[in-house]
């Protein structure tokens, strides 16, 4: 039994309109996604905007209503996390994308970080302050800053406050939704290093959502590529980067700029070849509606969405 298992997850949003606001159709944001994460590992969810990667993350933690499918966490079903026991909820936390809008500007740092503690643990004021200071130190901020407000911090520091809040209850699983997209490269490095350190120290499992394949490769053990609400390919980091099978994955990999300027012409040629292949072979890789086929195993770890043969 895996640590976290997602089985045929679907999240459909109704499109309302007409006279009485009837449901006219559905947007299938996530349409049959299955994957599992092992304890202590990092699973990367990659895709372009609108591919449903964020919705998947939010559905697991209960921020989006699940239309159908099952989510199992440590053997217990948590599909409806709102009704799940309180203990289960403290084990899953989230780091949000935008460090500017995910912290309440009217609250002091101590109140932001202590909020989960106040929900779950009965601590005295002194104990609480001590815990918050420890957490701040752990994320590399000075413990004296507990009385400051979010606007007094830079983007990277704010993201670390968000991380401190997420790890306050010592969760087992953290869903990180584009945790570094809003940050500069040097700050990004800081946050990524830090996330790896606390993963080792606290034995955390990450679901890492990002559109940046460089970051994903650096952080993840397993990767799932999403397109229009479905997985097109999933496998180990090596499978995806060294042996991409699906044309969409190839296209994503080809689009990453190479850091070595000497490779630039090869890279351009590679990109053009893949683009041509993408245009020609689109019908072979996607069904009549332009959606991905169900995943088929090509090796023990590597799954690709290909039409059934024969």
């Amino acid at each position: 039994m895996s640590f976290l298992e997602i089985d045929d997850l679907k999240v459909h949003f109704p499109i309302r309109g007409g006279f009485f606001g009837r449901t006219l159709a559905h947007v299938k944001a996530v349409d049959g996604v299955s994957f599992s994460i092992e304890k202590g590992k990092t699973y990367g969810l990659v895709g372009e905007s609108g591919s449903g990667k964020t919705t998947t993350g939010r559905a697991i933690i209960g921020l989006n209503k699940i239309t159908s499918g099952r989510v199992t966490f440590e053997g217990k079903e948590i599909t409806d996390l709102r009704r799940a026991s309180k203990d289960l909820r403290r084990d899953i936390q989230m780091i949000f994308q935008d460090p500017y809008s995910s912290l309440n500007p009217k609250k002091r740092v101590i109140d932001i970080i202590a909020e989960p503690l106040r929900n779950y643990e009965k601590l005295s004021k002194a104990e609480e302050t001590k815990r918050v200071q420890e957490l701040l130190e752990l994320v590399g901020l000075s413990p004296e800053s507990i009385l400051k407000y979010p606007h007094e911090f830079s983007g990277g520091q704010r993201q670390r406050i968000g991380i401190a809040r997420a790890i306050a209850l010592k969760p087992k699983l953290i869903i990180a939704d584009e945790p570094v997209s809003a940050l500069d490269v040097s700050v990004q490095a800081q946050v990524l290093n830090f996330m790896q350190e606390i993963q080792k120290e606290l034995g955390l499992t990450y679901l890492f959502i990002s559109h940046d394949l460089g970051v994903i490769k650096h952080m993840c053990d397993h990767i799932g590529i999403m397109y229009k609400g479905r997985h097109v390919e999933s496998g180990t980091t090596k499978d995806i980067f060294e042996n991409p099978q699906h044309i969409y994955t190839k296209r994503l990999v080809a689009a990453i700029p190479d850091i070595n300027p000497r490779n630039r012409n090869e890279q351009l040629k590679f990109r053009q070849d893949v683009k041509q292949e993408y245009e020609q072979a689109f019908d072979q890789y996607f069904d009549d509606e332009g959606l991905a086929y169900p995943l088929q195993p090509v090796s023990d770890t590597h799954l690709v969405a290909l039409p059934e043969r024969g």
Binding site: D184, S186, A254, A255, D258, P261, R264
Partner: protein
């Protein structure tokens, strides 16, 4: 090959904060040649966009000093009317966010047509329409006649950016400034837009200034690269030299902090501290010094200037000679909460 399109000499752009002027761009000199793509790279707050806006004179309340020579004129001294004759005609700009750069109430055809009309009042209506369709085709928009009548909100982000590019190149400018043109876009769209900008440059032989924070984009696109930190150019070199033999500590730190897809890195380099706010910039000594405290004071120059270390390769300050990355064991160990 080196026929300069734009020459910037000792440019200083200052903003007023509480009755005091602070230079966001401080003594920047550079040239952009014909058919050359110069990338300006740095983190947010280093002054790269302020520099681009100074060239186009788009700042409303800034004090600009120095010389920006373009077509034999010093842009700093020109009146708005004189500038308007150049902007959109001889120099074009591609903005970061394609949605806010377009007028939401005007159809695409009229927006692009407006630029043609302003600089050529005698152009016939038919001719103008034809030229707009031609431009839309050139930037790779499918069904240009249809898009002509559409509003910006009907287009995707990538298509909108193509429209912005069509506007920038409408009058075949000699100088094109692209300010983070792909930051708001997905990777696959990003590569398409970058390839388009490159093709357009090859075709028109314009000089291009590409402003970006993404070193991967720089490696793919640039002929020459200027690295900016705290309002100054800290290193400038051709793209191969910069990536193979980076010298300035800031350049080297930046390169080491990017996670790339083609090599294994166990740990990314972290630059200590933060880019200082405009009011707190150190005005004396090496501006990057406070962020590399393990390098001794005497390694820095008192008033750092650009040194030419090899032809065309300039580095600011002498601290690059003594620079090394801190050893792993020097890092503080953080304890875990029990």
């Amino acid at each position: 090959m080196s026929e300069p399109v734009l020459k910037i000499n000792h440019l200083k752009t200052s903003f007023r904060i509480k009755d005091e002027y602070f230079a966001a761009v401080d003594d920047v000199s550079l040239t952009v040649n014909k058919n050359e793509l110069l990338a300006i790279v740095g983190e947010s707050g280093c002054g790269k966009s302020a520099l681009a806006f100074s060239i186009m004179n788009l700042h409303t309340r800034a004090k600009i000093e120095g010389e920006i020579t373009f077509k034999g004129q010093n842009l700093v001294n020109l009146s708005t009317a004189e500038l308007n004759k150049l902007r959109g005609k001889n120099m074009g700009m591609i903005f970061q966010d394609p949605l806010t750069a377009l007028n939401p109430l005007m159809i695409i055809g009229d927006q692009i047509g407006e630029i043609l009309l302003i600089h050529n009042k005698n152009m016939a209506v038919n001719e103008r329409k034809q030229r707009v369709v031609e431009l839309l085709t050139k930037v790779g928009i499918p069904r240009p006649e249809h898009v002509y009548t559409q509003y910006p909100h009907e287009l995707s982000g990538g298509m909108r950016q193509r429209v912005v590019i069509a506007m920038a190149i409408a009058n075949n400018p000699e100088l094109l400034i692209a300010d983070e043109p792909t930051t708001a876009l997905d990777v696959t769209i990003q590569s398409q837009i970058l390839d388009l900008i490159k093709d357009l440059k090859e075709e028109s032989h314009a000089g291009v200034i590409l402003i970006t924070h993404d070193l991967g984009v720089v490696a793919e696109m640039a002929d020459r690269v200027a690295v900016m930190y705290a309002g100054q150019i800290v290193e400038i070199a051709d793209v191969y030299t910069l990536f193979e033999n980076p010298l300035h500590p800031y350049t080297r730190s930046l390169l080491n902090s990017v996670p790339t897809t083609n090599e294994e890195q166990s740990k990314l380099h972290v630059i200590q501290g933060v880019v200082p706010a405009l009011q707190n910039l150190p005005r004396e000594g090496c501006r990057f010094g406070p962020r590399i405290p393990w390098i001794k004071e005497s390694a820095h120059e008192k008033n750092p200037v650009l040194h030419e270390v090899s032809p065309g390769h300039f580095v600011r300050c002498t601290c690059y000679k003594d620079f090394h990355f801190p050893h792993e064991d020097k890092e503080e160990k953080q304890h875990v909460i029990s």
